[in-house]
Symmetry: D2
Subunit: 358 residues, 4 copies
Amino acid sequence: MAHTTWFFETFVLAKQQPDYRLFHPLYGYLFNSYYESEGAHLARPQRGSLSRPTVAEVMAYRAHVDESMRRMLKEPLEPAVAALVELGMQHEQQHQELLITDIKYILGHNPLHPAYDPLGIGPQDVTAEHDGTCPPLDDWLSVEGQTIRMGHQGPGFAFDNESPSHLALIQGVDIRVALVTNDEYLQFMRDGGYQRHSLWHAEGWDWVQTLKFRAPMYWQPDPNQPDGWGHYTLQGVMPLTSQAPVTHVSYYEAHAFCDWAGWRLPTEFEWEAAASRFDWGRRWEWTRSAYQPYPGFARSEGAVGEYNGKFMVNQQVLRGASWATSPGHARLTYRNFFHAPLRWQFTGIRPVRSRESA
Amino acid sequence: MAHTTWFFETFVLAKQQPDYRLFHPLYGYLFNSYYESEGAHLARPQRGSLSRPTVAEVMAYRAHVDESMRRMLKEPLEPAVAALVELGMQHEQQHQELLITDIKYILGHNPLHPAYDPLGIGPQDVTAEHDGTCPPLDDWLSVEGQTIRMGHQGPGFAFDNESPSHLALIQGVDIRVALVTNDEYLQFMRDGGYQRHSLWHAEGWDWVQTLKFRAPMYWQPDPNQPDGWGHYTLQGVMPLTSQAPVTHVSYYEAHAFCDWAGWRLPTEFEWEAAASRFDWGRRWEWTRSAYQPYPGFARSEGAVGEYNGKFMVNQQVLRGASWATSPGHARLTYRNFFHAPLRWQFTGIRPVRSRESA
Amino acid sequence: MAHTTWFFETFVLAKQQPDYRLFHPLYGYLFNSYYESEGAHLARPQRGSLSRPTVAEVMAYRAHVDESMRRMLKEPLEPAVAALVELGMQHEQQHQELLITDIKYILGHNPLHPAYDPLGIGPQDVTAEHDGTCPPLDDWLSVEGQTIRMGHQGPGFAFDNESPSHLALIQGVDIRVALVTNDEYLQFMRDGGYQRHSLWHAEGWDWVQTLKFRAPMYWQPDPNQPDGWGHYTLQGVMPLTSQAPVTHVSYYEAHAFCDWAGWRLPTEFEWEAAASRFDWGRRWEWTRSAYQPYPGFARSEGAVGEYNGKFMVNQQVLRGASWATSPGHARLTYRNFFHAPLRWQFTGIRPVRSRESA
Amino acid sequence: MAHTTWFFETFVLAKQQPDYRLFHPLYGYLFNSYYESEGAHLARPQRGSLSRPTVAEVMAYRAHVDESMRRMLKEPLEPAVAALVELGMQHEQQHQELLITDIKYILGHNPLHPAYDPLGIGPQDVTAEHDGTCPPLDDWLSVEGQTIRMGHQGPGFAFDNESPSHLALIQGVDIRVALVTNDEYLQFMRDGGYQRHSLWHAEGWDWVQTLKFRAPMYWQPDPNQPDGWGHYTLQGVMPLTSQAPVTHVSYYEAHAFCDWAGWRLPTEFEWEAAASRFDWGRRWEWTRSAYQPYPGFARSEGAVGEYNGKFMVNQQVLRGASWATSPGHARLTYRNFFHAPLRWQFTGIRPVRSRESA
């Protein structure tokens, strides 16, 4: 919360309101997570030992900034300022989702496995999968070879990495309506998926060997379950739901699974061409597209220009959204991106099969 | 040499010749650099301390394998075997180039800066740049927006990553006939290129800050030169040739330079569309395309299937060839690939400018 | 608190009270900091992310154990059990001191430099030095060459590493009544002490060069002070008191300072022979004795035998106590020990000069 | 050889001979292994890639220095210069031994296990153990409690760390005539010595767990041997000789073995008091004494003062000599020192039992 508040203070209030008073001269240093243009920032490994400012002080900081923002919003904003305010809100929505995934990570790696929401009052990370409405596993949509228009054409908000809109050429493929399920992933595991190097990227194989992974993140052996596994959820440790979409897999695992199954991951172009025809939004779906700028992409001037462009190397694009994404934040053209080994997001796998194998 | 010899012994002789006798039972372990299918291999950091087998023993190994290969080649080969022999020769050509770049690396990092070829008898890594034939720096080729056919269409040899041939859509751009010169790169350096974070990828900026780089690899300050720099070459330390193409830059540096100049790197599709219209082959040219499989790519069965596909994540494509590439090894559709920070190859920068900025 | 509570639960209650019920089956795993005999323990780097059990749960754990201990202590204890109870209390006193030094470390490395005790209500880490009662700096005590009896001779409590009592031979030396002051240490700094390799151990020099230390821990440049420095204390950042004993120095720094001054550190034998004749107890005093077992030392059986003996390699002995040591915990024969580079304790320097230089 | 030659050039010729011409201006940088006073030196990890200067160039360097030394030695030397020449020769003797241990390390870690001396022509690291003259294992010498004179008193050469001669007090102990044998060490291994944490120092246990050691360096399982083991020697891989002294053990292993056997290692004072009564010189014998200066020790002025004193922290003393020590280099008062985990020297274990357990 302090970091998203800092965004409004630094990029909106301090720059637009001549008489704005910084809440604390050092908060910029503390809560600037990585914007190089805005001066020094605290090294990441030291953040874990920050016991101050306290929660109460951070809440007072928020109230101070909220008050100034409220006053400012009573007047009409210039378009450039309005765009920054909107960016600040979108940025905060992103961190709302990260709060959920971070809480799950911290509690899920605590030896006590404490439940975040034992009564299941809040949004629930497995309930959706309990209702048995998984689409048929053999339902494939045909995507014809075509030239399609990609990217944001909106009037609405979009991040800079979704522009400019442009044409892309895709070949004909089939894309599956259902995401890969826990049950399908268990078959991969039982068939030695984590022990067969030929299925993996070279660096994925090093990753599996070094870290000794044998299952998705949060899975733990449970001899009391018929399938031998349980998994940590925000409601605590629970049995797997066999038809629920597998989640918390890395790009390496998503690739190896597909290789094993005779499928592959979609490119982000194929995904965008087909997504209006299936339900998406429960899992961030790995694509096999590396995160690169769209043709004609130009980064914005100044610090907000650091938002997306500077990460366009050595990451993979994920499309869609997850159940933890803030309402209203999802978009068909949205381009999320993560490093290949990361698994703490609610990631998933959507298979594609090339037309010739159909 | 032992490693390329091992390739012929393992993938050709041991599999095709029933009575072939391994030269030494442990050589497979010593000289298998990474093929997982072919059993254990020596960890990379320990290779530097291998004083045995001696040079004489490796030459005897080579003679043993050459003799068996010669005998085998007297008879007609089945097509699958002939393909493996050709792959073995192409593999050896790749290592011939790596020998040159490795020798340059080892001698160039020796405090004595010993020259490899002080008399300039062999192929020379700077002579070509002395003759002043650098194309004009303002000569740009126009590449129209179009759908082009990419990749290998045979009949000659190509690596699996150049297939299948397929259509790609490109937008109109201008691509420069001349590579970026040392003189242009010096302007970037003098203009604070290595100190301005806004020009760099986030991880490129970390790389520059951590390793304190301020110039391409092999450059060293020389107060006796008008431009203040010298560079190590295989002929020893020499002054820079201002119109020679800059080399030994990482992908991060190539990107930052282009950002500074208002240009960008080409995609590998743009490059392939235009390359028949300019001279290439002196530098491996960084593209902004991540190394991904072509649509419909399928890896080969068995160990040779590990050749290319398993590296298709977190690397960048380089196109063209360098002066150190073996004669006959270069191809318009050739896809080389390296990690973004690497600089010990003879890399270079070819600028593109988007049509709207023309 | 959870860890010292666990000590009583594990070594006293669970072993002595047949009907004792563990408060929580996983707490042993969470709060066993290093006793190998008592089963698995949480890896140290992961402790920082433990948000559960909560403070309230730890307090309930303490109340549960306190209640059981109180009931047990109503009956006479067998001597072996009484010894474990005493060990548990001494262990808790050690952690009381570590709480203070850890709090200072965490707050003192927070960019906001929050004061722990801004009003100076509790025990104060600089007040004692304000009263100007530093002993004269040229007051040296003569310790004659002699055979002295070292170590604990009872009847009260002592740790196993203080036994057995034995004879040691020392040569005649002079030992100073006053500890080295901030002012003296500043002279060392101004004379290039941190830049002159000849004063340092080889590994101390590497440490200084790598970590770029130029002053004791918690010192920070302050251009508003005549001596140019301030330092973080539990009351916040304050000016240095010139006559106060320097603190938060490593063994390497203590050694280098003495080498510069023409002095040396005392052995723990010299220290014990002389300490009854000077005031000690404000700083843990580095000695030049490595932490080794006394002649005839035998470790206790079982897990409590891990208490001291297993650390008797590659550490230095510190003698005395600091102002943060629990009342009643200090002893003339007490042997504290730390690794040479550590500085977060309240360490200090007492000089010795060899007789021949007197 | 280049490094020991550099010692004569730098500390003798360049300082004593006004007209001495340095063989090469950069050799000082290349071959200064760690003397800070003598300027910059090459970082240790980069030394492995030095292919130049060549062997021929180093031999020419040696000839150049030998020639100058020979000319100088025709005239009488001032005592200070003669002392430096003697120090240079002793330094070279030390490196002669290190050459043998380094060659064994490099060849012994080569997967081919090449023999250095397959015919056993040179000094042999196992022959001495073949003749069956191991002293009886139950032959213990009684060392009375006493005050003894320690350290060098000679007229002959000694390193600075052997001075000044001084008195030390020791308690009565028994010390064994025989070193610990391979057979005794095998009993420790079979009794779970490497799996029982209670026998080990805390950091020794971490070392064993992390590196997964289960036997001395150079031992390798051999199912064809009755005891299940072979070991690499300079003559190649051979069976163990059961009565030969175990070697290539770390301080941690020596300590754990003694703890298991109910014994302990001697202090260096006990060792020096008793050594004239047993044969020593086949193994460097770990002592339980940390490497500290003798009372009254003062380091020499200048660079040669870096020889020993700056290492006097966090190392253990070893006494005696090994079969690889140069003839004439061993001395009763010699103090060798190594870090606790190191095993590539020819180390051994001599047991002591405290008198009370006799």
